[in-house]
Amino acid sequence: MQYTLLILLLPLLSFVVLGLMDTKWKARVAGSVGTLVLSVVAALSYYTAWAYFSTANVGGIYQKIVPLQTVWMQFSGQLHIDLGILLDPISVMMLVVISTVSLMVHIYSLAYMKGEKGFERYYAFLSLFTFSMLGLVVATNIFQMYIFWELVGVSSYLLIGFYYTKPEAVAASKKAFIVTRFADLGFLIGILILSFYTQTFDFGVLNSGNAGIFASASGVTFMGASVLSWAMALIFIGGAGKSAMFPLHIWLPDAMEGPTPVSALIHAATMVVAGVYLVARLFPVYVTYTPDVLHGIAYVGAFTSLFAAVIACTQTDIKRVLAFSTISQIGYMMVGLGVSGYGGHEGTGYMASMFHLFTHAMFKALLFLGAGSVIHAVHSNEMQKMGGLRKYMPVTHLVFLIGCLAIAGIFPLSGFFSKDEILAATYMYSTGLGIGMSFIAGLTAFYMFRLYFNIFWGKENSYEHSPHESPLAMTIPLVVLAFFSFFGGLIPFGKFVTSDGAAYTGETNYVLAIVSVLIGITGILLAAAMYRKKTMLPDRVSQSLGFIYQLARNKFYVDELYLFITKNVFFKGMASPVSWYDRHVVNGSVNGLAVVTQWVSVKIKGIQTGKVQQYAWVFLLGTLLMAFLILFL
């Protein structure tokens, strides 16, 4: 299966060509080249998936296949960084997800970004991102993952800052890069610790279940926790940064300053789930050696999920609502992984989490692209400027509704199946956590339909230009994604992706399923009551909640806290004193040395009177002293 290399090389090639060509090509040519390359990549990915799932099953277990592997950098000792391609169920699934969404975004952008300055640059960056993301998921070792991890970070930076003359976009891109970079520091230190004890980066070795490789770490503790727990927790911090887990989530809402298709691709479907993917990739290590960290991940995920869902209920920028919803849903996935055990029925959470990753990628990309279509028509992100759009944009309306129903978990749309599995796994782990997650599911339904009703129903605004349906290049990707969002849930996911590679069919918990659907419908009805027609109800509710509403509206002031810390601690507390210290103390001491030298020379200079007779006196006395010393000592 060496042709999988092409899946990586083609987008890279496209990036280099488009990047070098820059403005020499017409926009349309650049766009077509990018899209064409991506279609080939998508076709290859589907073929790979088909070939993998039809051939790699040996004895009921999906094997890991490494079609290509080369040593990129050899260190002394056993450590070496390899570059290679690893095919196993989750990486193949990710290949399909990434190439599908990326292709849709490429097509969609042909119309959405039409006439933008820097159209070629946009496609170059998209190719770069696709390359990096594909490289990340097929990584054979943790260091290769780190390499591509950084590359997706920078492509995200470049794409968020695409409108580089807009100060908000520049600030957002900077914030995104630095926050994730900070998290990557944890990832890096985690890798260093892990590789120090295991002497390997390779996923195959780490996940092999061979306890021998962790032997040297056993019994080593630091501050009460085993050193392996520290390593895995630090690696999770890296994942938490990319996946916008609390408290590292602050970059994601701001990242919405980027072009909307970019948000759909990077900040909804692919890059932000890299953290989930990372945990899933190292799942055998987590579950066998550091279950404590895994439980921590579950609670971090649950808290983030609740936190983001509450905020999402109060935002008015439609892209930000979607961003917080993304954070919340990724929290869901983390919970799924966190509560999971290894193998068979125990491993439901793992399977569910991957399933949710898949369905979420589809319906969230759909929602973002749908929102893009709305923004394209209305030229604003604010809910107040919308309303009653269902008449003007029937296709967008329909697909958006499908997306909302899917995320709300209504039978038989895709979200229902994946979310239900996660809930089942959570209830298996702890009833309390399960109830919490069910509540979040209700909140999700509520805020999604708040969004839906505000855009497509409610009071009709007076528009300057009458809004119109988007062109075909935009609606076709929408329809395709809507199709996946609708029917994606029918895929028997447990047959393909499980924690141990063996196929498994979960028994459906009908009570739970029905209750979840009812919760979802309750949320929808609540939203309908409040937002379907323009009423005073929302205002009254927000007033009665008062303080809490204000907190949520302002995202619990986490951004302000960060700003305070960076400004006062980082800049005023560290950088400025250090540069002051350097300029005045270190530099000053050197200048001081010069001043002292000068002072001494001025003082000594006084002895040189220039008067010959004084010199002669000194000379004479010196001679006498010498004579005295020589004669009498």
């Binding site: 220039g610 010959v612 007779q613 002669a616 004479l620």
Partner: protein, 120 residues
Amino acid sequence: MGSILENFTSGIIPMEAYIFVSFIMFFSGIYGFLSRKSLLMVLISIELILNSADINFAVFNRYLYPEHFEGFFFAMFTIAISACETAVAIAIVINIYRNLNNVEVDSLDELKEPEASDEK
């Protein structure tokens, strides 16, 4: 006269006597060099010092190594050199006088850097 010369050659006059003379000459020269204000006096003092050295050369040669002549030669060298040196020195003194209108030693501190605070 003849007896003195005879005494000298036969060693009746002790060497210390000569050295005593040259000692007095040398230190009066040094005293003059250090204390006189006039450049000419300083110059004369230097001559005194040099001449005392000449005497020593001659005396030591005569008394200690009578079969050699290096001491006499050196004394003659020194006389010649001091003559040249005096000529140069007087020329300088004259020039100084032309420039400064006096020949005081203390007024000659032109080479010294004037007092000034430098920047670093």
